[in-house]
Each structure stands twice: as structure tokens, then as C-alpha cells.
């Protein structure tokens, strides 16, 4: 990998951060605070996720948040090379974790979209 590759994660971290600010605000409001204290129910979430707009938003949110979070963790780890001298494996491991998390996240959302099969 090119040693200047790190420009891309840095840039993506900024972009994902900026998008997340907006999306998370929506997500929080719709998902939790609009009727706060009411237990969230499967049916309620399912109803919301009937709209493709919300499905798209949730999927984008999932991917961005996983990237932003794991890249943030990577940044923290990179700042302490004394503990973890080789950053390549770390990046790779985190990448795999990220992919797995996204797949698992989609898997977890799937019942809502299909109607809880």
C-alpha cells in the first residue's frame, strides 16, 4: 500500500464525521427522543423501516458509524506505537472487524425489513 494512503482515511474520517452529525441527530430524534420513555417495540421500528428512505438512512448510518468509530480507534492505537509497534496488522484486523460488524448489523436489521420472519 502506498505510504501516502493515509490521506484517504483522514479525509473519510472528516466526511463521515460531518455526515454523521446530521444523520445521528435525525436518528436520535426519531428513534429515541420523539417519544422518550416509551419502550421501543419491534412493531414500531418495523413500521418505520417500511420506508425505503429510512432503510437507506439506517444502512448508511451503520456503515459510516462503524468506519468512523473503528478508524477513530485505529488513530488512538497508532498514537501509541510503543504498545503496538506494527500498525499494518492493526489496520487489517480493524478492517475485518468493521466488515463483520456491518454484516452483523444488516443481519440484525433484516427481521425488521422482512417483517420478523
Amino acid at each position: 500500500m502506498n505510504r501516502y494512503f493515509s490521506t484517504i482515511p483522514w479525509l473519510l474520517q472528516r466526511i463521515s464525521g460531518a455526515v454523521l452529525v446530521v444523520l445521528l441527530a435525525v436518528h436520535f430524534w426519531v428513534g429515541h427522543y420523539a417519544d422518550w420513555g416509551e419502550p421501543i417495540t419491534f412493531a414500531g421500528v418495523q413500521m418505520r423501516l417500511q420506508s425505503t428512505v429510512f432503510i437507506t438512512i439506517d444502512l448508511i448510518l451503520l456503515m459510516l458509524v462503524v468506519f468512523h468509530g473503528l478508524n477513530g480507534v485505529r488513530n488512538i492505537i497508532l498514537d501509541y506505537p510503543a504498545f503496538l509497534p506494527h500498525n499494518r496488522p492493526i489496520s487489517l484486523i480493524l478492517f475485518i472487524i468493521g466488515i463483520a460488524t456491518v454484516i452483523f448489523g444488516i443481519y440484525a436489521l433484516y427481521p425488521f425489513i422482512t417483517g420478523g420472519g
Binding site: 493515509s6 497508532l78 498514537d79 501509541y80 506505537p81
Partner: protein, 233 residues
């Protein structure tokens, strides 16, 4: 007559077999206008000849006497004793190996300096001087005031933890200083050195370098400029 201050000074003698650091407290009579460096000289001259620290110009132009004063990296010669009451803790610059007492090993710091071609790569060789407008000099004006005192680098938490990796705020400021010099033609090469993971991207915009720089150089601003240059290359 007069006030006193307690200097709690970090001590480490490499020639002592135990090689363990300890703190020693000295009481110094203060006078108006006294700097921390003068107080240290007072200790050295009157009380304890074994104390070691660096010094040279005594008016903040040579960059020798940077040290940690009550947890902040500052120049001893530029800091008035009257800023402190009671006890002043004096420690060596953090994040660097200690040679003796307040003297640290600056080799890693100067290594970073050497990495980035810290000299003008001339564009041409006119018979007389290069024509350069005062506005162009003003562009780099604060950055040419750098005295290589290492305060920025030792204030930076990222430099502490990834000393061998992160090129550090001083080197990045130098890159800025040369890259923005209208007479320079080596900007691309220098940017190549600092564009990587261990260059500009390791700066987490903490602002400690700018905050503590004794010459008030807007270091973070320079690094941010280099980041943008690195993206839009």
C-alpha cells in the same frame, strides 16, 4: 527582606550508581524582574554546583533553556519568577531522554529537523538578490522566528507517545516556512516527506504547540495548511 520561592527541582545523576531520579528543593530569594533562569543560576552559584541545565543567550533567542515549569514547557529565561508563588516545580522537558537533571537528549528533535530538507532550494541564481515583496516575507514572518527550542514538540502529546514516528510540529513548521517562501522550489519534495501517516496526519489539532510556543508562532495553523496542501495535491 524580600520574598522567597521554593524551587523543587528534578534531579538525576547518570554517574550515580543508583541512577534514580529524585526531587530537591532550594529556597531562593527573589528580586523584582528575576527570571527563572536567574533563579536557577542562583541555586547553581550559591547553593549547589552539581545542578545541570542548559543556557546561553538569556533573552529568548537561542532556545537553550526550555524546561517544564509547573507542568508547562517554557523558556526559563523568558519566565518571570513573580508568576509563581510558593513552590515552583522544575522538571526536564517531557518525552525526551534525560542526560542529567534538566538536560535532555535533543537528538531525536534535531533528527526530525534534518528529515525535511530544512534549507532553501533555490529557484534561480540572480546576480543580485532575489526580488521578494515585503508581503511575501510577512507570509512566513512568524515562522522564521522559530528558535528550535523544542517546546512545541515536547508539549505535543502525540510526539510524546510516538516519538520515533511523528515528525513533530517543529519540522512541519519548517516545511511551511520554506514551502511558502517565494524563493523556494523544493516544496513538492518536502511535502512528500510529511504527507504520510507519520507526517501531517498524525497531528490531532490539540493546539498545545501553538499555545506554548515562546515565539508565538501559529504552528497548528501551518500544519493545517500543509494538510490541505496534502489533500489537494
Amino acid at each position: 527582606m524580600g520574598n522567597t520561592i521554593n524551587l523543587k527541582i528534578f534531579r538525576l545523576d547518570p554517574e550515580n550508581a543508583r541512577h534514580e531520579p529524585y526531587y530537591q528543593t532550594y529556597t531562593v530569594k527573589t528580586k523584582p524582574g528575576m527570571t527563572v533562569l536567574e533563579a536557577l543560576f542562583n541555586v547553581l552559584d550559591e547553593q549547589d554546583g552539581t545542578l545541570s541545565f542548559r543556557y546561553s543567550c538569556r533573552w529568548a533567542i537561542c532556545g537553550s533553556c526550555a524546561m517544564t515549569l509547573n507542568g508547562k514547557c517554557r523558556l526559563a529565561c523568558k519566565t518571570q519568577i513573580s508568576e509563581y508563588r510558593g513552590t515552583l516545580t522544575i522538571e526536564p522537558l517531557p518525552g525526551l531522554d534525560i542526560i542529567k537533571d534538566l538536560v535532555v537528549d535533543l537528538e531525536p528533535f534535531f533528527n526530525n529537523y534534518r528529515k525535511i530538507k530544512p534549507y532553501l532550494v533555490p529557484e534561480g541564481m540572480p546576480d543580485k538578490e532575489n526580488i521578494q515583496m515585503q508581503e511575501d516575507v510577512d507570509l512566513i514572518e512568524p515562522h522564521i522566528k522559530c528558535i528550535l527550542c523544542a517546546v512545541c514538540e515536547t508539549s505535543c502529546p502525540i510526539s510524546w507517545t510516538s516519538r520515533e514516528k511523528y515528525i513533530g510540529p517543529m519540522a512541519l513548521t519548517k516545511v511551511y516556512r520554506f514551502n511558502r517562501d517565494t524563493r523556494d522550489a523544493g516544496g513538492k519534495e518536502r511535502l512528500e516527506v510529511v504527507r504520510g501517516e507519520d507526517g501531517v496526519w498524525r497531528c490531532r489539532t490539540i493546539f498545545r504547540c501553538t499555545e506554548y510556543c515562546p515565539k508565538n508562532i501559529p504552528i497548528t495553523e501551518a500544519i493545517q495548511f500543509l494538510k490541505r496542501k496534502s489533500v489537494f495535491k
